[in-house]
């Protein structure tokens, strides 16, 4: 068998600069979980459909199961563990808590990272647009209704803030 090449990667993970040696073939999801040892990023399909593994790379949602750790080198990664430090992160978490927007919580990290980006960029999103933005995250427990309600609440609270 061909030797597996090992590469040095440098990146900022949840605000902290990090350096690791990784196999070139290792996914970003496996890297975060197995090497960095932060376990909030969940793996649900490893083929880019369920969205459970979503993290932010330079602020943009990416599927960490379809990204290689090496491709994240030189970038800034935010996982669920860092969502609380994002501008609307804690508000999202609070609204999810109050709206019962999670049951088993397995899909939740990917949904929160995706939505943290969404609410920051689409302050006037309609319910329809929220549904659309969520369409890349599968949840088998909630029926989505309460997730949409929680995200709507964050968006409308931004309006209230703006009016103030």
């Amino acid at each position: 068998m061909e030797p597996i090449s090992v590469v040095t990667v440098d990146m900022i993970i949840n605000g902290r600069p990090q350096q690791y040696e990784v196999e070139a073939r290792q996914s970003l999801a496996d890297f975060l979980r197995d090497q960095v040892g932060i376990l909030g990023t969940h793996i649900g399909c490893e083929h880019g459909v369920c969205g459970a593994c979503t993290v932010l790379m330079d602020g943009v949602p990416v599927r960490s199961c379809l990204s290689l750790a090496v491709s994240a080198s030189g970038h800034e990664i935010v996982t669920i563990e860092g969502v609380k430090d994002l501008p609307l992160g804690q508000r999202l978490q609070q609204e999810f808590l109050e709206h019962h927007a999670l049951q088993c919580g397995f899909c939740t990290p990917g949904i929160l990272t995706t939505m943290a980006h969404f609410v920051a960029h689409y302050p006037k999103a309609t319910e329809e647009e929220i549904r659309d933005a969520l369409s890349g995250n599968l949840c088998r427990c909630t029926g989505y209704h309460n997730i949409i309600a929680a995200v709507s609440a964050v968006i409308s609270s931004r309006h209230d803030d703006a009016k103030r």
């Binding site: 399909c45 083929h47 459909v49 019962h100 999670l102 049951q103 939740t108 969520l134 427990c141 209704h145």
Partner: protein, 815 residues
């Protein structure tokens, strides 16, 4: 009995934020893949069969073993050599089931070899180097094919593919059919669907001292599989420790069928001599975890001239896949008590058949055995309505069991303790604004739009009786003293020396919020804040109190685990009051619990707090009443009193502990160009007794309905005629996403305190609820919209287009 429904409830019945969410929202959950492994643990990858049916001629593992980092490669023969025994099956047929293929493979995805290596990647690389030579055999896939004696046979020792065949008769169906004004027949196909929890299976197995094994797994129970696993491993139950992590990423019945993999990994760990971890990937999950059965139903109703069903004749055929894996054929029999659903029919003739085919084995799946039954029955009710010229709502009014007949005993043994079915239906019609919908339909039709309305009602069984499966054997073959019954669930509560309360559950929750509800119940009894109560989830078979029914399945927590917890906390409070009365030298009846303290009636200054009393129980044994044990811990068990009996000689069984009821009314519009179904309105009203936490209940209904909607419109495990799975990824096995999910109008019937005779808290299960009615409600609505008679799911645009074309051509032929 100490438990009673009467309780001041400051917390119970409210939607408080969940305890679980604090960790889950921060990514701090403890799921199976997050469990720290012991140093030296290796990773497993499974080589799986590419054939649906083939004889294994030889397996050459030499190249795989030589890969650097590989510890061991295990095949079916190695497992046999290690002394593995087949997994016990519930059906009395010679169809041995091992967790890995032995001699033959019988479905695509069946495990053939397991590679254990330093990393999963290395294990997968090495698995690709295993050479297996197969002698392919013809694949049997369809139900009718499996019933055909000329088809290939999966299990040679059996000689055919029928695993179960029972004929059950209740009342006088033949007589009723003679009297019938109409006889209505129909044939219905329900698809093989899987609830596909987003978290896949995970197992860690490690042996200690050679003969005891600890298995961590996201197993949801029932722990009736524990003796099955121990037996397959050739050890005593006390030598098998099963630990379930506090968080499970959804289960829906699918995570019952993980147990063969728990056995497999324990065997592999034993052979490899190292602790082994296996994390299933999604492709494995879709091909080879579990799903519900595909079901063929032939239904014949004897109907009076006013539209009353006086007898049902049912032929139910379940396709259980390659092996009849326990708890199958539960799918056929789980609904025994509620075979008549909410209808008054007393005459029933049931032929129940399970066939084996070259598909992935089945098991419990949300709506187990009920969704398929009600799909057929509720479609049938609409046919009967059309035949006798009544509105679909009216035909149900005519047939539903009136409140005045409660409690009601069904012909097949079900005991419906309470419920107002007619009022529930009326409420659903009201909430959907049925009359207005019918007007809207008229208007839409005038405009040439395809607008339809569907109703489905159903009795929702929960808390499965461990005994119902005995019905698989005819009465004369049932072994004396081997019957099963009940649905016991334990709980444990402890108060420490500082008054801190810890509840230890053994319910294996998967998102249902057991920790929160347990804390709410305890908070009311002890007068403390739920925030201050610690609740431990998960399960540990070596340290917690459990029974074989333990687990979270068949929507059982509200009527079992919650009751056991409630009663344990009540007993704790009794002990605290006993201590207080002794310390105060007051009459026991003069001491009462008020706002978290024991006080002497009328003398509030004479009071001891929970903390003070707990301190006495732990620190000051001399101050305890004579004979009282020190410490403050109580363990309890609860089983619904109505589950005290197994199957009787007439094949009657009260198969579930509680029976809720729901009525769904849905309006749809089918796009006349794309044939996509859009849900216009969906109202669902539930009669589930007392609601312990409204937000959690509503969340369960939302989730349940979407599983039903998925089965109605999107989901199906599709195999080609060679037995290759065509829906092997989440791109192909399409589950509902946010744009597919409707808003629901949800309502509940009021609960009259004490009206449930089966559970002290008055709460019935709700976890499956609309999964059981949504497929029928939608099929009724779409049939109404298109003017066709739909008898198959899912209603994909492609199918609807073809069915609609067929109808059009029939109409044009008639013209």
């Amino acid at each position: 009995m100490a438990t009673s429904g009467k309780q001041s409830s400051q917390w119970t019945g409210r939607s408080i934020p969940r305890k679980e969410d604090l960790r889950l929202l921060q990514g701090q959950g403890q799921f199976m893949a997050d469990i720290a492994t012991r140093p030296g643990t290796k990773e497993a990858a499974i080589l799986r069969s590419p054939h649906a049916h083939a004889r294994i001629l030889a397996i050459d593992v030499s190249e795989a073993v030589a890969v650097k980092g590989v510890v061991s490669v295990v095949t079916g023969q190695d497992v046999l050599a290690a002394g593995a025994r087949p997994l016990v099956v519930a059906a009395p047929v010679p169809a041995d089931y091992y967790p890995i293929a032995v001699e033959k493979v019988r479905y695509v995805g069946e495990p053939v070899a397991v590679v254990v290596a330093r990393t999963r990647a290395i294990a997968e690389d090495a698995a690709a180097k295993i050479k297996v030579s197969y002698d392919p055999l013809p694949a049997v896939l369809g139900i009718e094919e499996a019933l055909d004696p000329g088809s290939a046979v999966l299990h040679d020792a059996l000689g055919h593919n029928v695993a179960v065949h029972r004929h059950l008769r209740y009342g006088d169906p033949d007589g009723a059919f003679k009297e019938a004004a109409h006889v209505v027949t129909g044939r219905y196909w329900y698809p093989k669907v899987s609830s596909t929890p987003i978290e896949t299976y995970g197992v860690i197995a490690t042996w200690e001292q050679g003969d005891t094994v600890t298995i961590w797994a996201n197993f949801q129970g029932p722990f009736s599989m524990h003796p099955v696993m121990a037996r397959a491993l050739g050890i005593g139950q006390h030598q098998l420790r099963v630990i379930v992590p506090p968080d499970i990423g959804g289960a829906f019945g699918i995570k019952i069928s993980i147990y063969p993999y728990m056995v497999l990994m324990a065997l592999v760990a034993k052979i490899a001599g190292v602790p082994v971890r296996w994390l299933e990937d999604r492709l494995e999950a879709l091909a080879a975890s579990s799903s519900g059965t595909d079901r063929l139903t032939d239904l014949t109703a004897a109907v009076s001239n006013v539209g009353k069903v006086i007898a049902w004749r049912m032929r139910l055929v379940d396709n259980v896949g390659a092996y009849i894996r326990a708890p199958e054929p539960g799918s056929l029999f789980r609904a025994t008590g509620n075979l008549v659903s909410g209808y008054q029919t007393q005459n029933l003739d049931v032929e129940a058949i399970a066939v084996m085919t070259n598909k992935c084995p089945t098991g419990p799946n949300r709506g187990y055995g009920v969704s398929a039954l009600y799909f057929a029955m509720e479609r049938h009710m609409d046919k009967i309505a059309a035949l006798v010229g009544k509105d679909p709502a009216e035909i149900r009014r005519i047939n539903l069991i009136p409140h005045s007949m409660m409690p009601y005993r069904t012909p097949s043994g079900g005991y419906y303790d309470s419920g107002d079915y007619l009022a529930t239906l009326e409420r659903a019609l009201e909430r959907a604004d049925y009359d207005q919908l019918r007007q809207q339909q008229q208007e839409a039709r005038r405009q040439g739009r395809l607008f339809g309305i569907g109703i489905a009602v159903g009795v929702d069984p929960s808390v499965s009786n461990m005994g119902y499966i005995d019905i698989v054997e005819p009465p004369e073959d049932r072994k004396p003293h081997r019957s099963k019954s009940g649905s016991g669930q334990g709980s444990h509560v402890q108060v420490d020396a500082s008054g801190g309360v810890t509840i230890t559950l053994s319910t294996c929750a998967q998102g249902q919020g057991h920790e929160t509800v347990a804390a709410q119940l305890a908070a009311d009894i002890l007068g403390v804040d739920p925030k201050d109560i610690r609740v431990i989830g998960g399960m540990d078979s070596s340290t917690r109190n459990w029974t074989i029914a333990t687990g979270a399945y068949s929507s059982r927590f509200a009527a079992t685990g919650a009751v056991a917890t409630f009663s344990a906390v009540q007993q704790i409070r009794e002990k605290l009051l006993d201590i207080a009365s002794h310390v105060f030298e007051a009459d026991r009846d003069d001491v009462q619990w008020v706002s978290g303290r024991a006080e002497v009636k009328g003398v509030p200054a004479r009071a001891l707090t929970l903390k003070q009393l707990a301190g006495i129980a732990h620190w000051d044994v001399a101050s305890l009443p004579p004979g009282m044990e020190p410490g403050l811990a109580v363990q309890t068990y609860f089983t619904p009193p109505t589950l005290g009996e197994s199957v009787d000689p007439e094949d009657r069984v009260n198969s579930s502990g509680t029976y809720g009821f729901m009525a769904d009314v849905v309006a749809v519009e089918v796009d006349s160009k794309t044939f996509a179904v859009k849900i216009h309105r969906y109202a669902t009203v539930h009669d589930i007794g007392k609601v312990l936490n409204p937000a959690i209940v509503e969340g369960q209904i939302y989730g349940a309905a979407l599983h039903g909607i998925g089965a109605a419109l999107l989901e199906e495990m599709v195999y080609d005629d060679q037995g290759q799975l065509l829906t092997g990824t989440f791109m192909d096995y399409v589950v509902p996403s946010a744009p597919d999910a409707p808003d629901l109008i949800i309502d509940h019937m009021d609960y009259a305190e004490g009206s449930s005779l089966t559970t002290p808290l008055g709460a019935k299960g709700v976890g499956e609820s609309s999964t059981e009615t949504a497929p029928a409600a939608l099929a009724n609505a779409v049939s109404d919209a298109l003017g066709i008679d739909i008898n198959q799911l899912p209603m994909t645009p492609n199918r609807l287009f073809h069915w609609f074309l067929q109808r059009e051509s029939l109409i044009s032929q008639e013209v």
